[in-house]
């Protein structure tokens, strides 16, 4: 009995010691969008290399999850591609700031055996496919925009998100702007009542499902299509051009909004007017309490954000994201000053 006592005491001591040693490191938790996950993952890793005592653990559970968990305060910060609405902001126990980090694009990614050329899509066409009105790849609507491409007579398998997603929000926000039927029938939110298709979890799940399902069509953030080497289509913008997602076309989409940025940074830039614009672009935001209880974490977060808005932006183009416009960064630095760090 006594040896059991002794060994338990030793074990408890060891656990406390390890715990104590680990306590020197500042561990912070955030969760949310999968849209910016590749670049956040890179950022937190780089930041940790420069500040080894700060570990920022980010979990990609979807924008809906980010909003939920930050509102319930089970994580210190959230991340979302869909701005919180008035109700959600009201329900949170404190004022939450939206801090844009990068610009990204949502692209239509597909898997058609023997078709490797880039397909052209228009907004209404995509809406009809996702409404379930167009079900075969060789439909007249698709063929008209893509003369010279032999499209098979097989079924289109629509792949969408199974979880609450900001990427979904960006996608359906665009579809609602170009298709009145989509707007009334399905609507715009992080999670919608999909008329057709299979669900994947996270951007990763959708990319994965499209990759493994011949005939599939899904929507993912650009980097996921690039990293999984899957073909993605160009989309017709408001000016009538067929635009492919790129750093330039996404930056162009934000140009107009950057000049008229609202103070809370909540703005949609889908279907933006102008030339060279990629129509399914968006900001993505970090959700942070203005007056959090844990001031040490707040300090670390503000310091990280300042790094992300300056040095961090360098990593964006390599990963397919567009850096923030200079005007936006200036406004945001001022907003960061308002976060209470003591």
């Amino acid at each position: 009995m006594k040896t059991v006592h002794n060994s338990l005491a030793v074990l408890a001591g060891v656990v406390l010691l390890i715990g104590g040693a680990a306590a020197q490191k500042l561990q912070m938790n955030g969760a949310g969008a999968t849209f910016p996950y590749p670049i956040y993952s890179k950022w937190f890793s780089e930041y940790n290399k420069q500040h080894p005592d700060v570990q920022i653990n980010y979990q990609p559970i979807g924008s809906g999850g980010g909003v939920q968990q930050v509102s319930k305060q089970t994580v210190f910060f959230g991340a979302s591609d869909m701005p919180m609405n008035a109700e959600q902001l009201q329900a949170a126990p404190g004022k939450i700031l939206h801090l844009p980090t990068v610009l990204g694009a949502v692209v239509p990614v597909y898997n058609i055996p023997n078709v490797t050329t880039e397909l052209k899509f228009s907004g209404p066409l995509l809406a009809d496919i996702f409404l379930g009105k167009i079900t075969k790849w060789n439909d007249a609507g698709i063929a008209k925009l893509n003369p010279g491409v032999t499209l098979p007579a097989s079924d289109i398998t629509v792949v969408h998100r199974a979880d609450g997603s900001g990427t979904t929000y960006i996608w359906v926000d665009y579809l609602a702007k170009v298709s009145p039927e989509w707007k009334t029938k399905v609507g715009v939110n992080a999670s919608v009542n999909w008329p057709t298709g299979v669900g994947g979890r996270g951007n990763e799940g959708v990319a994965s499902t499209v990759k493994q399902t011949p005939g599939a069509l899904g929507y993912v953030e650009l980097i996921y299509a690039l990293q999984t080497k899957q073909p993605y289509g160009s989309v017709q913008n408001m000016a009538g051009e067929f635009s492919k997602a790129s750093v330039e076309s996404v930056t162009a989409a934000a140009a107009a909004a950057a000049k008229q940025m609202p103070p809370d940074f909540r703005v949609s830039i889908t279907n933006a007017p102008g030339n060279g614009v990629y129509p399914i672009s968006s900001f993505t935001w970090i959700l942070l309490y203005e007056n959090a209880k844990d001031k040490a974490q707040a300090r670390a977060m503000v310091d990280f954000m300042k790094w992300a808005l300056t040095d961090g932006q360098k990593f964006a183009p390599d990963l397919g994201y567009a850096p923030l416009p200079a005007d936006v960064i200036k406004l945001e630095m001022a907003a960061l000053a308002k976060v209470k760090t003591s």
Partner: protein, 285 residues
């Protein structure tokens, strides 16, 4: 007339016997399939990095699951810490007071808890161990897995304690020992090897659970031993990687699956050997 019906009956019997043997083969085929894939894909994927490195940033190949392996050990350890005392002692009660109505209630509760889907336990643990503390943590994960372990250990303990010959208990009591002394000093030690085997098997089982950890211990990209922080575990990591689009993630998922299957295999074999030795000991004694 009679010989044809006899012939028919004999044929039917042979067909039936054949079917049963066939059923065994059919069941073994997926087992062979699964093990084949896990072993071949896993061996190709496993390297030293897997056991020593943390995950790399998304999309960059390489890295490993070192933090996840440690995390699984920690969370399973916490679960055992919680479940072993409660399970063993409840099992003790059920065996000592087997006839009473309360013991039947406890047994019913244990069997019921055994049948509760692990995802439901996860939802329960989220409400009880995460929300009130506003924190995902290794402790919450340990709690969820512990709740699952308790009924397994309780029933195993009960069965093994009942197997101990009554003569041993009566002998102790006859010598003037209290109930407690008799049980802790004589009956329990006799059943201990079996109970330990049961605990090992229960550990192997919960180490492979994913669902209850999704909303309790969550996940952590970094290496941590802090119990009040989210922690990475092998099962959740395999799930994340398997449902992802990167080939390198898939490779690592197979490696993780191989580690999980090895854990299960080793524990099952050890349990088998231990039971065989126990039976031989009992036969001799």
């Amino acid at each position: 007339m009679k010989s044809t019906t006899t012939l028919r009956r004999k044929l039917l019997s042979s067909a039936f016997v054949g079917f049963c043997g066939f059923a065994v083969l059919i069941a073994l085929i997926p087992l062979a399939f699964v093990l084949f894939f896990v072993i071949t894909q896993g061996i190709r994927a496993v390297n030293v990095d897997f056991f020593t490195h943390m995950p790399t940033p998304v999309g960059e190949p390489g890295g490993g699951m070192a933090n996840a392996i440690v995390g699984t050990l920690i969370v399973s350890g916490l679960a055992a810490l919680m479940a072993v005392p409660i399970g063993v002692i409840s099992g003790m009660y059920m065996s000592e007071y087997a006839g009473t109505r309360f013991a039947s209630l406890v047994r019913f509760a244990a069997d019921t808890l055994n049948g509760v889907p692990s995802i439901v336990i996860g939802v329960f643990a989220y409400a009880v161990a995460v929300l009130p503390f506003k924190q995902f943590s290794a402790l919450a994960g340990g709690f969820a897995l512990g709740v699952m372990m308790i009924p397994i250990i309780a029933r195993t303990t009960e069965e093994l304690l009942l197997l101990v010959p009554g003569s041993m208990r009566e002998g102790a009591l006859a010598l003037g020992a209290t109930r407690a002394r008799a049980v802790f000093g004589v009956v329990l030690p006799a059943a201990l090897p079996g109970i330990v085997t049961g605990i090992v098997l229960a550990l192997a089982r919960i180490a492979g659970e994913t669902a209850p950890l999704l909303f309790t211990s969550f996940n952590n990209r970094f290496f941590t031993t802090k119990l009040t922080q989210p922690i990475s575990t092998l099962t959740v990591q395999v799930f994340t990687y398997a449902t992802g689009p990167y080939d390198d993630w898939h490779r690592q998922a197979w490696a993780g699956a191989l580690v999980l299957v090895m854990i299960v295999l080793v524990c099952s074999l050890l349990a088998r050997l231990a039971t065989r030795r126990l039976e031989r000991m009992h036969a001799r004694g």
